[in-house]
Symmetry: C2
Subunit: 215 residues, 2 copies
Amino acid sequence: MPSDSHAGEAPARNKRADAVRNQQTLLAAAAEVFAVSGVDAPIRQIAAKAGVGMGTIYRHFPTRADLITAVYRHQIQACAEAGPSLLASAGSAFEALRQWIGLFVDFLVTKHGLADALQSDSSRFAVLHTYFLDRLEPVCAQILDAAIDAGDIRPGIQPYELMRGIGNLCIGRGSDPRYDPGRLIELLLQGLQQTQDSKEPGTPLSPKPGTQSCL
Amino acid sequence: MPSDSHAGEAPARNKRADAVRNQQTLLAAAAEVFAVSGVDAPIRQIAAKAGVGMGTIYRHFPTRADLITAVYRHQIQACAEAGPSLLASAGSAFEALRQWIGLFVDFLVTKHGLADALQSDSSRFAVLHTYFLDRLEPVCAQILDAAIDAGDIRPGIQPYELMRGIGNLCIGRGSDPRYDPGRLIELLLQGLQQTQDSKEPGTPLSPKPGTQSCL
DNA sequence: CTATTATTCGGAGCGATGTTCCGTTTTGTC
DNA sequence: GACAAAACGGAACATCGCTCCGAATAATAG
């Protein structure tokens, strides 16, 4: 395949010089603004910091998700590539899973509001969502499979669900010192770790059929 | 204490007739709009549906959180009151915890975007956050303590953290059929259920000190 | 019943933000 | 240097939260 459309990997020969220059400038400005004001910072602010008009931003990055994706592309890629190597280097598949999740969490948590944006209800960030998943879900699946094969964790968990859950748990970290996503994710891992012969899932979580309907 | 200021419990005698009428109308309209468009629906839309001006809405419910709180007050109260009775009726403290969490999840999940709003990054919804916690955290703490005393779950988990985590896991349900908060919460419960003598927490989740710093 | 007063109502208006659109400028090519 | 295509800039429009104050209305006094 040729180089991709937008996002800052390969400038692509057929673009005008000022275009690639502006794209670089925009990525740098966006990275800086994101670090300070979070990924929800006003577009105008990014445009101002880059010294370009707003039309320019929208031409290069039609949606905010495109811009976020481009800014963090390298980190996402690094996280994806860390998967197989962790699987090789860690003592066990479970340990690899734990460490990979650690990387993933660290990535989400150090970006202001990234986790929030990722799970944003509406489809404003569908592109971002898709990109994350395309890159990381296969990696997660591979580690998960290895851990299941090794008997480290119980089967049945889906990569998508796990990543999404972890992403959700990372939302809002920092708003209250009493909340530490790491502890809950650790708990989740413990639950995953149980062998299936111990306690089975039990009754479904939803309220008992006849209980009441006031909620 | 006298009847509370805003929110739809006791109309309070000293208010004008049209004021209490409008308050009722607003609560009904808001409930309807919330059910359709989520708790982030534009204020104007609620005002329009209620057939009042926006000034009226803001006088009765200074912040959006006040309105949300008022609309769901009964349900929150019911959830709070269900705690002790579950503790009495369920077979074990752990089962009570599971069922209470089931109620809590059911409540969050059936309200469009309520979970999202609850954990909203900024402090727009501080009041909502506070109200939820004031009512439900003690209940959660009580069940948790009972479960710990009974040896059903490992100690160390804080009620706030658990509720917050559950709330986070409920975010975005419905956007993708592959994501079911219930399964992950079940996993969390399993992790909580482990006795502390089995596998201890292990190395901290954060990446190993010397690993790398690219993320 | 009417006049007075205090409360409540309604919506125009302001500022912030996302997004589009088109006249102007810049760049690459001949 | 001239020309066309590509890119730029920012004005303009739409939406939304929130405030503010004259108008309307209910409670009360006479």
